[in-house]
Symmetry: C2
């Protein structure tokens, strides 16, 4: 399945939750499958922290495969023979939508650190604008994993009339204290890179690659399960020939060095900060004195909440919290815990049970 | 209890496990209580990663209280009315013993990155040299938590004739893959600080404080229990007046910023790297094809192994592994799991059960 990304500029000013306004904004997005005549087969996929709009298929541009290609495509769990699937890059990201690496129309300079703080609510609002542009009145399903699952939950809250079902995978209604703490360490390593320049590194023709690398190495540990790391790497030593740096002794060190280095070439440091802040700040209950049940009261969609046993970033108990609140609020919901070998990243990988559950949910 | 540290220079060359030799070395240490006529009441306390020789009492120098003062003193679990307690700063440390911040006698320059790689085995060997110097033939008990517990276990293995009992708390016979991974992220943040100069920062009249701060912030998360963090900080916002930096939103972020900053003033970055490497590399089973039972076979001392429920750095299952191997090897051992509110750091804090267990062990 060859796919081509599209970019749309929305000329109306966009008010953000933080109080700032974007004078205009662009969204990069992809679609898979065809919208039917009744406009009843549209599905929105929301990407996680370091994801983007290229969710499925093979990019016409660079032949890369979408990050959820196991999930989306002809005859896959989200079957593009039946459904019209949309995925957009979140604003504040670095995948083509307006963000720290794009040009601020006010002064024609790159935004850098001047790009305002964005939130899950803001992303959902921009996705609603894209929805209207595409002529879709109701999503049959909005789904995502991790930060993408937070968006799916927020969709059900923000636009109850425009969504039939929400799929919330490996997610939480609130980041935990430990989540925030880990994200703050990652941000600290970026901010203290000598090439960060208070976020204005692009204007200084440089990038805080070292800080971004350390941040990603830490993030990567939180995405994998401890068991998986033990099984795959254990305490095996790296052979000398393939050591990335002379400081490395163990395979796991070399692996993290490799992953961190690769990521720091491709990703943007300001986006890293914005995305982790959006994750930390997400908390629908905060408008209701901490009562998640009240925050969910107006939901009209059905919720499918999936947690993965080996996920220690957003463990299954976080999904259970959402389901309990939904039950109290009288919202239809299912909560499923899957094994998942890949820790937090398990939401990315298809399995028989995962497939069947999503299939039966979307077709219910 | 006022205490004065002592420093001894050992003029004989010291061969290290890594193959290097120290031409001479100094040990900084403290003692509490009096050695009895029979030389039968000596106790060795081994410090953890960022600890030092000042384990108990009030320092004559700066009035600071020792890191295990809750454990050691008159009428405490390790009763200095009865026992003669010794604690030395590990070589490679930054508490006064030979290490990266001291002078290399070969060239009269500060060691810096030239200080050789040290190991738990090396530390035990230097403690044995100190033992001989002090005229002690047998420790009634060697004990420690975390990296200190690794030393207590190594004492039982290296010098079976010179130790009656070993207390191994919040420790492991091997660091896990995740432990190594976390330590590598911390080391990466230090090495990539622009003031690191490949470890020769002192010669360049600077210190990699930023990298060391980030490393400690991460370390600190692994020392606390997730439940404790949730209870103490939750998702509370930091009030504006007491924010350490403008980047901080949540209390937990401010707390980590504060702890990291303070630590980076006091600790040495090369020592951080050496100590974490010693922790990662510790593995008594590695000389026996990975068979821990064989590594323990020659032990003659009794082992008391304590794990803490909320410890996710070296969780109780790591202590259980030691006990199972000890049982198979026919070594007398007890394994106790305590609640411990403080995660990995629980070994530092006295409780009724902890007190009783240590008391009955030392007096058994």
């Amino acid at each position: 399945m060859k796919v081509t990304s599209k970019k749309i500029k929305f000329e109306n000013a966009l008010s953000l939750e933080c109080g700032s306004t974007l004078p205009s904004f662009e969204l990069m997005f992809e679609t898979y499958g065809e919208l039917n005549k009744q406009n009843s087969n549209a599905v929105l996929v929301c990407h996680a922290f370091s994801g983007n709009h290229h969710a499925a298929g093979e990019s016409n541009l660079d032949s890369s495969i979408g990050w959820w290609d196991q999930m989306i495509g002809p005859n896959k769990a989200i079957d593009t023979n039946k459904y019209f699937v949309v995925c957009s890059n979140n604003i504040g990201g670095c995948g083509g939508s307006s963000g720290p690496t794009t040009i601020n129309p006010t002064n024609e300079e790159v935004y850098g650190a001047d790009f305002p703080v964005v939130s899950v609510v803001d992303w959902v609002n921009t996705q609603k604008i894209l929805m209207d542009y595409l002529g879709i009145s109701k999503w049959e399903l909005v789904l995502g994993g991790s930060l993408g699952g937070m968006q799916a939950l927020q969709w059900a809250i923000s636009y109850p009339e425009n969504i039939n079902k929400a799929g919330i995978f490996a997610a939480a209604a609130q980041a935990s204290t430990q989540n925030i703490a880990m994200n703050e360490v990652a941000r600290e390593s970026i901010r203290k890179d000598e090439n960060f320049y208070d976020g204005h590194y692009l204007k200084n023709n440089t990038k805080p690659k070292k800080g971004l690398k350390t941040a990603r190495m830490l993030g990567h540990i939180t995405y994998l399960s401890e068991e998986h790391m033990d099984l795959r790497f254990g305490r095996k030593f790296q052979d000398n020939e393939s050591k990335i740096t002379r400081d490395v002794d163990f395979e796991i060190e070399n692996y993290l060095q490799y992953k961190g280095e690769k990521f720091s070439d491709a990703f943007d440091a300001n986006t890293y900060i914005l995305m982790t802040k959006a994750m930390d700040n997400f908390d629908p209950s905060s408008n209701e004195d901490g009562d998640l049940k009240k925050a969910l009261t107006n939901i009209k969609s059905k919720l499918l909440i999936i947690g993965f046993k080996t996920d220690w970033l957003f463990p299954p108990k976080k999904g259970k919290e959402i389901q309990l609140a939904a039950m109290e609020a009288g919202i239809k919901s299912s909560f499923v815990v899957l094994d998942g070998k890949h820790g937090h990243d398990s939401f990315l990988f298809m399995s028989d049970r995962y497939f069947k559950i999503i299939r039966s949910f979307i077709e219910s």
